[in-house]
Symmetry: C2
């Protein structure tokens, strides 16, 4: 039987950088990508086959957009899942499945899912407001996370002791035991309709101290073979327990005593997989495309050690973006700059990323730090 992927009309909810890199790989398969995004100047604006302006959380906007597509997927999880469920009921294919997006949208149900499925994760309590956080003062130090609306580092607050209590959110969320971790890692897995499963090798993530965004990423991860295998097994278990079709990023903590705990998951291409474009045999964006179109999945192994540096808007600058130091980094071997087509910068806005390839891990780290020092997004 001959599948003709090009005949499928593929809709993506969200037209940011993830959608943009997704389109770059979809071009190779003549797949028509339709984008829904509220921002008329979204990064996908000029390269999408069709760009529809609309609200991702609005039922009608999502439903009307999806009606014209054969398959619908996402690049961000805060979307209207009721509209997606309606589309499924009407025979559209939606991956990841709406129920899974819904479950992941709320960190509370996400945590409960781990618990019910014996997926290792940090201890936690569900809390509805500051009062409930106070009740658990003996549980501190802990991390208070909003159930919903947390994104790109927002909605997360560390409560070291009762003195920090006013930092807590007065909204439904979770209170997680603060993990004294050795390493923060991420594993991206993919699954297609036929149930074919693939995992990328784990990567180490270094977060920005204040912005709580991935600042550096290193592949392979700085962990033992045994821990790497456990992390991959856990990530594969999560996507199978979810019975999900698509791409899933699993962020994990490796504790000082070698435990591997799931922190959060994202059912889409993820910042921790940007290096796969140049460093792995198959990029996470192509893998996402393959999984939702039910193509055979691609080999995920690493071609070469690599690092990824996010290009965040420099603190203190707002307005039309200007990039500094580009020529200097372009002169270096194995350096790949990806700009996201965002006209305006603001502090810590994700404006692009750089992937670096190097055989030697030490040289790789030095190069990543050097590039971070040279490249600046200002206004």
């Amino acid at each position: 039987m001959q599948k003709n992927y090009q005949k499928k009309k593929l809709g993506v909810l969200g037209g940011g950088q993830l959608g943009r890199m997704f389109i770059q790989s979809a071009i190779n398969y003549n797949v028509d990508v339709h984008i829904l995004d509220p921002d008329p100047n979204a990064p996908c604006r000029t390269i999408a086959q069709q760009f529809v302006q609309g609200q991702l959380l609005d039922f009608d906007d999502v439903y009307n957009f999806g009606k014209d597509c054969d398959i619908i997927t996402i690049e961000i999880e805060s979307v209207n899942t009721d509209a997606l469920e309606r589309l499924v009921a009407e025979g559209k294919e939606v991956y990841p499945q709406p129920a899974i997006i819904k479950l992941i949208q709320d960190k509370r149900t996400q945590k409960q899912f781990y618990k019910e499925n014996q997926i290792p994760t940090s201890e936690f309590y569900l809390v509805d407001d500051i009062e409930e956080v106070k009740k658990h003062s003996d549980f501190l130090p802990a991390v208070n996370k909003l159930g919903k609306e947390g994104y790109d580092g927002r909605g997360v607050q560390i409560i070291h002791d009762i003195a920090d209590i006013d930092k807590a959110f007065n909204k439904p969320g979770i209170l997680e035991k603060l993990i004294d971790f050795e390493e923060e890692i991420a594993v991206i897995v993919a699954r297609n309709k036929q149930g074919q499963l693939f995992s990328y090798p784990p990567v180490s993530c270094a977060f920005h101290p204040t912005a709580n965004l991935v600042e550096y990423l290193f592949a392979p991860a700085n962990i033992s073979e045994a821990i790497s295998e456990r992390a991959v097994a856990i990530a594969l278990n999560v996507i199978e327990k979810l019975d999900m079709v698509g791409l899933l990023a699993v962020e994990m903590f490796v504790t000082k005593n070698g435990e591997v705990l799931v922190n959060e998951i994202a059912p889409r291409p993820h910042n921790s997989g940007h290096h796969t474009i140049e460093a792995n045999y198959t990029s996470q964006f192509e893998q996402h495309l393959r999984s939702v179109l039910d193509m055979p999945l691609g080999d995920t192994s690493l071609r070469m050690p690599s690092a990824m540096v996010n290009l965040l808007g420099q603190d203190g600058y707002e307005g039309e973006a200007v990039i500094e130091g580009l020529d200097e980094v372009l002169g270096m071997k194995g350096v790949y700059v990806h700009l996201y087509g965002k006209k305006n910068t603001k502090p810590f806005r994700k404006m692009g990323h750089v992937t670096i390839l190097e055989e030697n891990m030490e040289a790789l780290k030095k190069k990543a730090i050097k590039i971070k020092d040279i490249l600046k997004i200002k206004a």
Copy 2:
């Protein structure tokens, strides 16, 4: 000094597969690409920031298109160079320079250029018609090439002996000594405004017996280190003698006695460089972008041995294209399918290509041949 490449409006004459892959890499730099092409369904149609329909050989179409751009480049050499010269006179940047495009458009002036600059090439005569070909019967076997309008294998005729004389063109062209070559190779070189020079490693090309199109390509080329160095030196010499800014593909013959002779040149990304997208540190498309925008050029070394197979429309099929065997090849490691977004196929039409990566050259050859057998473009 901070250059802001994103501020440049870049126009490309031609919106075929070369323009399409060029846009895929320009996206990483937020460079606005404007395309001029006569075909309303050209491969660049949906991904260009602006798509203008017009004739590439029409003065007004080219001039009016170029007026709105800052920098103009090409993806095909049969364009109106008078319009480009006017644009240069009016302060636009055009790379490759119009005079060079003009010189290359005619195989007669191209050959004379090699002769005048002591660039090794096969012996030849300029011929105006069949009568003149006849006069050189003692020069046979030879290849009769049209001066102009030869493209993708058209306009080339082998004249083994006087009996073949009726195959000769009755138009101005050249009669080249038929070279009994050992290997057909290609070297792509790039040069930016600052004069920075880079060469890609030579590749071996295997041409389709009848269609006279590249059928397979292997990198590195199947030649000695000494011949490889000579080929690179010749290609660099050609671009410097031309004083050209941009990307230049130099096709060469390696004769049985180890001579390296320039066959033809193309001042743009070339079929013999498609593998560089996955196999080299910098792809030929990004290098083209860097050269015309006067960015620092990228490292050209090979990351891994690779092969490229053109996906030509199957002989005997015409109409809406259907691809056979895609799933089977997608399951293989290190296989990259690039489809060009052409709705309709016809015999030998370039519909896409596949790049294959393999550490071992023997395994690489086997895989390339296997993929050629599996993947078919029919209607």
